[in-house]
């Protein structure tokens, strides 16, 4: 583990420098990610403007929730974007071969090779939205609340990575798991809205099956309703541990049946 940490800056610098030949590409990606998110927030504004607010969920509160969901997602995006390639390409084409012949964790080597700095666009948009709408969101801010929310965001990164790795690893069995990953990402978008109003069945799924509701929506709900947000921290921690354990187990089972690709 120590070696992995020590090597990480080296990987980041290599990834950044090899990306330099495609600098324009990255900048365009960054701006387009940011624009996409701003446009979807504008959509929420238009919808909320035409219908009366649902309980405490006024536009600023919704916007704050929206901003919060972007933070763990963006940070996960920056660090583990390569998992998309695992689902779509790498397993099918035997691209893991070279990592498996080196004395360093293959999953680490695979993920560390790409540091996707264009995800910073999303991150900045998320943080800016939170800063703008935080004061108007009807939240009684305390120092403890801020710390708890930051903890939730950090744990949320691990939840996101866990879910991504879990579904990408299905590719060891079906070769082409991109479709699963896409679906899961689509589902994550529902956590940008008050999950609790979406019907019991769907809400349960969002809280306990694919728990985007638990680690993205629930912390903000606690803040808005004045419930104890440390419960959200606890639940996010449980989700992070369970998801990461599950994902790493599936990865380990998968790598044992990795078939490479024939020469």
């Amino acid at each position: 583990m120590l070696k992995e940490l020590k090597l990480y800056p080296k990987y980041v610098s290599m990834s950044l420098r090899s990306g330099l030949s495609y600098k324009a590409d990255s900048i365009i990606m960054m701006i387009s990610f940011a624009i996409t998110e701003v446009v979807s927030l504008a959509t929420i504004y238009l919808i909320v403007g035409t219908v009366p607010a649902i309980g405490i969920w006024t536009f600023p509160t919704l916007a704050f929730l929206f901003g919060f969901t972007l933070v763990p997602k963006a940070i996960d995006h920056i660090f583990t974007d390569e998992l998309w390639l695992l689902a779509y390409w790498a397993i099918r084409h035997g691209e893991l071969d070279i990592f498996m012949t080196r004395p360093l964790n293959p999953l680490y080597q695979f993920v560390a090779q790409t540091f996707k700095w264009d995800g910073i666009g999303e991150l900045v948009v998320g943080v800016v939205i939170m800063c703008i709408f935080g004061p108007q969101a009807g939240i009684a801010w305390t120092a403890g609340g801020v710390i708890a929310l930051i903890l939730c965001a950090v744990l949320g990164i691990f939840c996101f990575t866990g879910i991504k790795l879990l579904f990408a690893s299905i590719a060891f069995w079906v070769k082409y798991a991109g479709i699963f990953l896409n679906t899961v990402y689509d589902i994550s978008n529902y956590a940008k809205y008050p999950v609790r109003y979406m019907g019991k069945a769907f809400a349960s799924i969002m809280f306990f099956v694919i728990p985007f509701g638990l680690f993205l929506y629930y912390p903000v709900e606690c803040l808005v309703t004045g419930a104890n947000i440390w419960w959200a921290v606890l639940w996010s921690a449980v989700a992070a541990v369970v998801l990461m354990t599950l994902a790493l187990t599936v990865w380990r089972l998968g790598i044992r049946r990795y078939e490479s690709a024939g020469n």
Binding site: K3, K6, L7, K10, Y11, M14, R17, S18, G19, S21, G94, L96, D97, I98, M100, T101, R102, P103, L104, R252, R256, R257, Y258, E259, S260, G262, N263
Partner: protein, 346 residues
């Protein structure tokens, strides 16, 4: 020392139905065919040996190499590299530090960066001390003649340059064993020759154990002292290069193109020719000879004098022909043994 004990690797391939409905059914069906890529292989390679691991496409060579280098887990059996198993998570890192791998069809070099960047990363991954690293980089650059492209991004290298660079990457940490999976694939004759000579020099200088798969018999002749022939996942032959040469001889093919079909009997009757085949409406005739029994210049002389030759082509034999011949020999030996046994019982 490398030991393979009854190693098997099976792949399950789902049976796919036709059309959309068939695809849908495949999702829920557990029906599959079992492909026995490696089917009970055992051999031992001592330190410093150079082994050519050959066989036709799909014989299971790459699968074996991938099992020995930690990529694939055997279905059954054991692989021990100095007593440790590369496919066990606890033993993996210890084994992988002592081996180097080169795949002819894949590169481990960082695509958009100069070579030195990948080498530097590998230095950290393999914990090579800085002084050793500098000395080795120097030696390898010299030996593989890499100076001209050391600072160019990998994507701009030619295939021959890339192969040399990959070879250096695999040798940086001074591995005890080097696995080469078709290192000369796609290279032209001259570049191929140079690469093989370089590998030979590396082997002699560092006393590296070498396991090599290839499709070119010439690679094996220059590098290996032992040959293992694989066919359909089973070992067909395991012995010295001398023995292969003895069994097979030094075969050459001479193909001539003539304006009209020719009568070969005059040449075949007079000289020791192993095989004659015709192609292209009888206009292309191939003579296969054993160069040790009939000199190639003698044959050429005879052919040019006897026929009106439009074009001429010389070719060495490929692995496929060697395998075919060994296969036939082993088969007939087996048949003889079975017959002898049957006779004794009667």
């Amino acid at each position: 020392m490398i030991e393979l004990i009854n190693v098997e690797k099976y792949f399950k391939k789902p049976i796919r139905g036709k059309g959309v409905w068939g695809m849908f059914k495949t999702l829920f069906s557990r029906k599959h065919t079992l492909v026995k890529a490696v089917d009970g292989v055992s051999f031992t390679v001592g330190d410093g040996e150079a082994v050519g691991y050959i066989g036709a496409n799909g014989a299971g060579k790459s699968t074996t190499i991938k099992m020995m280098s930690g990529i694939l887990t055997p279905t059954r059996g054991e692989i021990l590299i100095d007593g440790k198993r590369p496919y066990k998570s606890r033993e993996r890192n210890a084994v992988l530090k002592t081996i180097g791998v080169v795949f002819g069809q894949k590169t481990q070099l960082w695509y958009d960066l100069p070579l030195t960047e990948t080498y530097d990363l590998l230095r950290y991954i393999y914990d090579v001390p800085e002084a050793d690293y500098k000395r080795r980089i120097g030696e390898l650059t010299e030996l593989l003649d890499m100076k001209p492209f050391m600072d160019a991004p990998v994507r701009t290298l030619s295939l021959g340059q890339r192969m040399r660079a990959d070879l250096a990457a695999a040798m940086l940490h001074n591995p005890k064993t080097l696995f080469l999976d078709e290192p000369t694939i796609g290279l032209d004759v001259l570049v191929k020759r140079k690469l093989i000579e370089a590998i030979n020099e590396l082997k002699n200088q560092y006393h590296t154990t070498l396991i090599l798969t290839t499709h070119a018999m010439s690679d094996i002749e220059l590098l290996c002292d032992r040959v293992i022939v694989l066919d359909a996942g089973k070992i067909l032959f395991d012995g010295s290069l001398e023995k292969v040469k003895h069994m097979f001889g030094d075969k050459r093919n001479v193909t001539i193109q003539t304006p009209a079909p020719i009568d070969v009997s005059a040449v075949v009757d007079k000289y020791e020719i192993e095989n004659v085949s015709t192609d292209g409406d009888g206009l292309l005739t191939t003579f296969t000879i054993d160069a040790q029994k009939l000199k190639i210049d003698v044959l050429l002389d005879v052919l040019l004098k006897s026929y009106k030759v439009v074009d001429i082509k010389l070719s060495e034999t490929g692995i496929e022909q060697v395998v075919e011949k060994i296969y036939a020999d082993v088969k007939s030996d087996d048949d003889a043994a079975i017959e002898a046994e049957g006779g004794a019982q009667a």
